[in-house]
């Protein structure tokens, strides 16, 4: 803990950690020093000069070093001759700051006046109007009249695309560099910057596509004026016309907290989502969102949603009411004699999954998580990352090991936070970075920040981690490994770092691994954590990079991967009950003679095959909760009215349960959560009320603090609760056996990898993102490409399982030799797992 420093700001005695800037010290006692360029997450630059204050330090006797006193016994203060920028001067002991003198008031007025000389004052048509720091600070500090001749104003371009997602209004920009510093310091992708000088100083982008970053939307939140706007919201609504509903991003396992801003739209004829905004949760997403979370919301309002139950009769599909369709399904389920196969998607809420599991279990049937391609959920329950961990805050005492994951593509905000821990860029009093180890078979974006980069061959993930455990425990008891860390200088160095570290977190993914392989990796990681004593506390434990937002919730609710194909799993089933799962679309088949029931948002391939299709509500229309990879249970709320007859999935299942006489219908989603709390291990004590608890967070954002932290929303709807792990509950968790996966061999190994911007059903329905979604391609190593006579952009035939797929190629040094990287969900061929393949160039 840094030393505390005491100073006096106007009348207030303030005590803050050494290194704190005057502006933040003042904020801590609700003294709002106005700022434009300063942002509490960024290094100060002192550019805008809005925060000028009077600063003095105690006069000290030259000889004794003691403070000098005046005749009243008060400390003599040496006031600095010039006003100082409160955003750049750190506090010191005995410092005095005056923020309310005539001189300071005058300076604020002067700076606002200067800014307005070149400002277009087009607030009536500006997206920021109503939540604009410049507007607000002008009202509180500016002069009432204008001395600058309007005719002499500069006129500049008002619609400059920085790519197709973010637009710049050059007239409105006040050159505060918040946007460029965000990209530079916090993302490490300086794809926008300043050009020219003086009044001509302007923001430009040099990247192709423009503003090429997964985090671009955040700059529009911290831009203190309406200079940066998103293509999604631009001229879409005024801030005060919109409803604000707290929600959770459904796109990945991070579980970023959001606000859905909705408004009635004459054009659409109903209420629509106008924009998705970050909601502050410092331990999760701070005040940020990735662009997928911000712009990828259009699937919910898509026009091809299902709105009425459908039943197939004599080869025709007919619309039916719930009153008809539910008894029909109940009868089929009752008649199945327990031969019910339930397949539920990892995206469903906890409430849905719990009620699904209860129903199928009550019938004596079996359930399966879909796609369920990653293992280790049970280990996360045992040795998951300690509750209260904030990845970004981890420092020198911590080793972070990231294995088998391309974090930037799979969990953007975790990548952001891990980068933060490893660089300590931006504003932080802790300047001692955590030590980062990145282990993967290929280059990933995180490598740049790694202290150690461990390269293994696909298939050696588990053995690599085991080798580390071996090197640490020394005896190697029970550990068979093909890799010898003792004689591998890099692995020994990593092992030493782990031994020396007070804390350790392992973030594991499933790249190159199937369900059992990733399960084995999880076990190997758990063993390493146990062997090195890194479980059960803050900053320690296992963090899974799940493929979906609520995979952990599915594990917790008892809906687990089956570890077999869907045809194997459903074989012999009389009824197949699916929820939010599309195995047919992914090339799997269902038994010909089974009765197939599905609840879904869209008419998927599986829905087309089904006998009964039940329209489900999207998460934006209902209540519920998700559990993120760090086991944080978080609530979301209804933002839009229900669509047609659609029902929340959980409601469908409890009605069926009741019709079958297996239970009663709970009063609402909150009541389902009470049942979860009663029945699900480690969920006891969780309730909707407690999930809505908040505590004060730093920095202040939103509302009247938008000038300070930006327009991210203050969190008044809940920070969520993390379920405890067995290790945290004091259990001695024992290491388990590990079965390293076997690797196939062939000319090439095709390894599916995950891209953030894929062509999955959610992003495809967000037109705004289309230009960023790549065409299906494969990526191979330069050496392999040369050998195969293939160049970048060539079309090739990829032969897998006796089938030829035509694909475009990219060539780079990232994939290892003999490996073809295959981005999944680009609407290309369906390769669910690592497979062997051969390659042939197609003549153009």
């Amino acid at each position: 803990m840094a030393d505390q420093v005491t100073l006096k700001i106007d009348g207030d005695v303030v005590s803050v950690p050494a290194g704190t800037l005057i502006v933040d010290a003042a904020k801590s006692v609700s003294n709002d020093i106005p700022v434009f360029c300063y942002h509490p997450k960024l290094d100060p630059v002192g550019m805008c000069r809005m925060c000028l204050v009077e600063v003095g330090t105690p006069l000290r006797d030259r000889e004794s070093g003691e403070p000098e006193l005046d005749e009243h016994g008060d400390q003599k203060i040496n006031w600095m001759p010039k006003l100082q920028t409160a955003c750049t001067v750190p506090v010191s002991a005995g410092m005095r700051v005056r923020t309310a003198t005539q001189q300071v008031t005058r300076a604020r007025k002067d700076v606002v006046e200067f800014l307005l000389t070149s400002h277009p004052l087009d607030c009536p048509v500006c997206d920021k109007g109503g939540e604009c720091p410049l507007q607000n600070l002008t009202m509180s500090h500016g002069s009432g009249e204008s001395r600058y001749l309007f005719d002499e104003k500069i006129q500049l371009q008002k619609r400059v695309p920085l790519g197709e997602l973010i637009f710049l209004d050059r007239e409105r920009c006040i050159q505060c560099a918040r946007c460029t510093r965000f990209q530079d310091e916090l993302v490490g992708e300086p794809v926008i910057g300043f050009d020219k000088r003086g009044r001509a100083l302007q923001i430009v982008t040099f990247s192709e596509p423009g503003f090429d970053s997964h985090f671009s939307g955040n700059t529009t939140d911290i831009c203190p004026v309406g200079a940066l706007t998103t293509a999604d919201f631009r001229f879409g609504a005024r801030p005060w016309e919109m409803q604000h509903t707290p929600s959770i991003c459904p796109h990945c396992t991070v579980g970023c907290n959001t606000h859905l801003n909705t408004r009635r739209s004459g054009m659409v004829g109903g209420t629509v989502i106008k924009r998705v905004m970050p909601r502050q949760n410092e331990k999760v997403n701070e005040i940020w969102l990735c662009d997928k979370g911000r712009f990828g919301h259009h699937f919910a309002g898509s026009s091809d949603r299902l709105t009425v139950p459908l039943v197939r009769k004599d080869g025709r599909t007919i619309e039916q009411s719930w009153e008809h369709v539910l008894p029909l399904v109940a009868a089929k389920l009752a008649a199945a004699d327990g031969e019910v196969a339930g397949i539920a998607g990892e995206r469903l809420s906890n409430e849905d999954l719990f009620c699904f599991q209860t129903l199928v279990e009550g019938l004596g049937g079996r359930t399966m998580q879909w796609p369920g391609r990653m293992g280790g959920g049970d280990l996360v329950q045992q040795v998951g990352v300690g509750a209260g961990t904030d990845l970004a805050q981890l420092g020198a005492e911590t080793v972070i090991l990231v294995v088998a994951s391309d974090l930037a593509e799979e969990a953007p905000l975790w990548w952001f936070k891990v980068r933060q821990a490893a660089t300590k860029a931006g504003a932080t009093l802790n300047k001692h970075p955590a030590s980062l180890v990145v282990a993967n078979a290929r280059d990933t974006k995180l490598d740049r920040y790694a202290n150690h980069i461990v390269r293994y061959s696909y298939g050696d993930e588990v053995q690599t981690v085991q080798a580390l455990t071996h090197a640490i425990s020394g005896d190697g008891a029970g550990i068979e490994t093909g890799i010898d860390a003792q004689h591998n200088p890099l692995l020994s160095e990593v092992a030493r770092a782990i031994e020396a570290a007070e804390n350790m977190i392992i973030i594991y993914g499933s790249e190159g691994l199937d369900f059992s392989g990733s399960g084995a990796l999880a076990q190997a990681c758990a063993n390493l954590l146990i062997a090195s004593g890194h479980v059960g506390g803050v900053g320690n434990g296992l963090l899974p990079v799940w493929p979906s937002n609520n995979t952990q919730g599915a594990w917790d609710m008892g809906v687990r991967p089956a570890g077999m194909s869907v045809s194997e799993f459903t074989s012999g089933a009389k009824v197949v009950l699916l929820a939010g799962a599309d195995p047919v679309g992914d090339g799997e088949s269902l038994p010909e003679d089974a009765f197939v029931v599905i609840s879904e948002l869209f008419k998927t391939d599986t829905a087309s095959r089904a006998d009964v299709v039940l329209p489900a509500q999207a998460f934006v229309e209902r209540e519920g909760s998700y559990t993120s990879g760090d086991r944080r249970v978080q609530r979301f709320y209804p933002a839009l009215p229900a669509l047609g007859d659609a029902m929340p999935d959980w409601n469908i299942f409890v009605r069926l349960t009741a019709l079958l006489g297996l239970g009663t219908v709970p009063a609402g989603a909150g009541a389902v959560m009470r049942q979860i709390a009663a029945d699900v291990p480690r969920y006891d004590g969780i309730s909707y009320e407690r999930l809505a608890d908040v505590e004060e967070q730093w920095p202040h954002v939103g509302g009247r603090d938008s000038y300070y932290g930006g327009t991210a929303f203050e969190n008044s709807a809940g920070l969520g609760l993390q379920t405890p792990t067995l290790a945290e509950m004091g259990h001695q968790v024992q290491p388990g056996n590990v079965e390293p996966p076997s690797v196939e061999s062939g000319e090439f190994l095709v390894v599916p990898i995950t891209l953030l911007y894929d062509r999955g059903s959610m992003l495809l329905r967000s037109k705004i993102m289309h230009q960023r979604l790549p065409e299906p391609y494969i990526e191979l190593n330069v050496v392999d490409a040369e050998r195969a006579g293939v160049g970048a952009g060539d079309r090739v035939a990829l032969r897998v399982n006796g089938h030829d797929w035509e694909m475009a190629t990219r060539v780079s040094t990232s994939p290892p030799e003999g490996v073809i990287l295959f981005p999944r969900s680009l609407a290309g061929p369906l390769l669910p797992r690592t497979m062997v393949a051969s390659l042939r160039k197609l003549e153009s």
């Binding site: 100060p44 805008c48 000069r49 001395r147 050009d195 003086g198 100083l201």
Partner: protein, 427 residues
């Protein structure tokens, strides 16, 4: 002064010193050899401290003290500031053209004293031909074993690189200069930290003006005592005064610090063109307050202290003379246009304020202003002062504030007459 120490020091009246052979023949690089082979870095710093040499780039900061401030981290860098962008300054160019080796020797001694192995010479973009010359001279020094590895068989090695600016006045400001070398947009950094702690690539760095460095070999050769004997107590040594404007004989005058304005203007430069009356003096280009040509001012010695006592700055000593025909509001419009054009745009008061002053001065000079405009101009200027991130913002108000104070009529006459000249507005 009979001897020209900076411009033609070793070879009074003769050319040829810009050639290495001649420079060596006259004892050149003996100082460098001496420090590398016989002195510790600390001894060099102490000697320069004792000499009382002060920076010639404008601020007059004691050079030896600057060198002693370097943080205890390596690598370190030294940078010669040859940006020479102040209007009316043309001394560094002449040093580099006519006595290049004395400057390079000074830079090399500075590097030795700073324990830096890489030195940069940052030159304004217009000096590209000069840089070609200097670069070939650097190669010559390599060939003579005075640059490169293990110089004179010692542990010391040194490389000199040249870097050309792209035409921005602000890149003469040391931290913007460092940004520019790093390939970034030329904007000043926040201080602290100062370059001595976090300079080029965040490493400890000395930045000195070209003229400052050209003094250094003299001090090593002839000692601190001798150096102090030139000039006056707090401002000692020779100084090149760049005289321009309405001087009969404009040009560079190397004189001891402490020479008066009158001696320089009337004795050395033969007075004012057309023998008109001298109205005002801009003692430091566009950056410092205008001085009225009173007897008090004319008898003021050209030292850092004395010029500031009469209300201005010696700065880089680019002395521009304005005769009685000059309208000071026109002159202020010219300096303001310069600063508006050169403001880097990083901070609000300078970026917006210079633009606003420029508009007001155009209005005034075009006879389109009203009585309030001169007052407003003064207020805007004062509104800028003391609020900026770097000194350029304050520089931009110097001529305006002092001009309004001393020559208020020059501003208001346009309003009265309503005609004025028509001045094109520049973007």
């Amino acid at each position: 002064m009979s001897e020209f120490l900076l411009l033609r020091h070793r070879n009074i009246g003769e050319e040829g010193i810009a050639e290495l052979d001649e420079y060596l023949r006259l004892g050149g690089f003996q100082a460098f050899r001496k420090v590398v082979t016989q002195m510790s870095p600390q001894q060099v710093i102490d000697l320069v401290k004792a000499s009382g040499l002060r920076g010639r780039g404008g601020a007059g900061f004691p050079t030896g003290i600057k060198w002693s401030f370097l943080s205890d981290r390596f690598p370190r860098y030294v940078v010669a500031n040859s940006d020479e962008s102040e209007p009316g300054t043309f001394k560094d160019r002449e040093i580099m053209e006519r006595n290049p080796f004395q400057f390079l020797e000074g830079l090399m001694i500075c590097a030795y004293a700073s324990q830096a192995h890489v030195a940069y010479n940052y030159c304004r973009g217009e000096f590209w031909q000069l840089v070609d010359e200097l670069q070939s001279k650097v190669i010559q020094l390599h060939d003579h074993g005075m640059l490169g590895d293990r110089i004179f068989g010692s542990e010391f090695s040194l490389q000199i690189h040249h870097h050309l600016g792209a035409g921005a006045y602000i890149c003469g400001e040391e931290s913007a200069l460092l940004e520019s070398i790093e390939g970034k947009l030329g904007q000043p950094r926040l201080k602290p930290p100062f370059p001595a702690d976090r300079g080029l690539y965040q490493q400890p760095t000395v930045v000195n003006n070209t003229e400052t460095l050209a003094n250094v070999p003299l001090i090593i050769e002839r000692g601190a005592e001798w150096y102090r004997s030139i000039g006056v107590e707090k401002s000692c040594g020779p100084k090149i005064m760049c005289l321009s404007g309405h001087a009969k004989n404009p040009g560079n005058y190397e004189v001891p610090l402490g020479t008066t304005f009158r001696e320089l203007i009337f004795d050395l430069a033969d007075g004012i063109t057309g023998d008109k009356r001298l109205k005002a003096i801009l003692p430091s280009g566009a950056s410092a307050p205008i001085l009225p040509a009173t007897d008090v001012v004319l008898d003021t010695p050209l030292t850092y202290e004395d010029v500031s006592l009469v209300g201005s700055q010696l700065g880089s000593a680019s002395i521009i003379l304005l005769d009685e025909t000059v309208d000071v509001s026109w002159a202020a419009m010219k300096t303001t246009r310069f600063f508006k054009h050169e403001s880097c745009g990083k901070c609000t008061p300078c970026r917006e304020g210079t633009y606003w002053m420029d508009r007001l001065l155009h209005r005034i000079n075009n006879g389109q202003g009203d009585h309030e405009d001169a007052n407003l101009l003064g207020e805007v200027a004062k509104q800028i002062t003391g609020k900026c991130l770097c000194p350029l913002g304050d520089f931009s108000t110097s001529a305006v504030i002092s001009g309004l104070e001393l020559f208020h009529d020059d501003f208001t006459q346009h309003v009265r007459n309503g005609n004025g000249s028509t001045v094109e507005l520049s973007e």
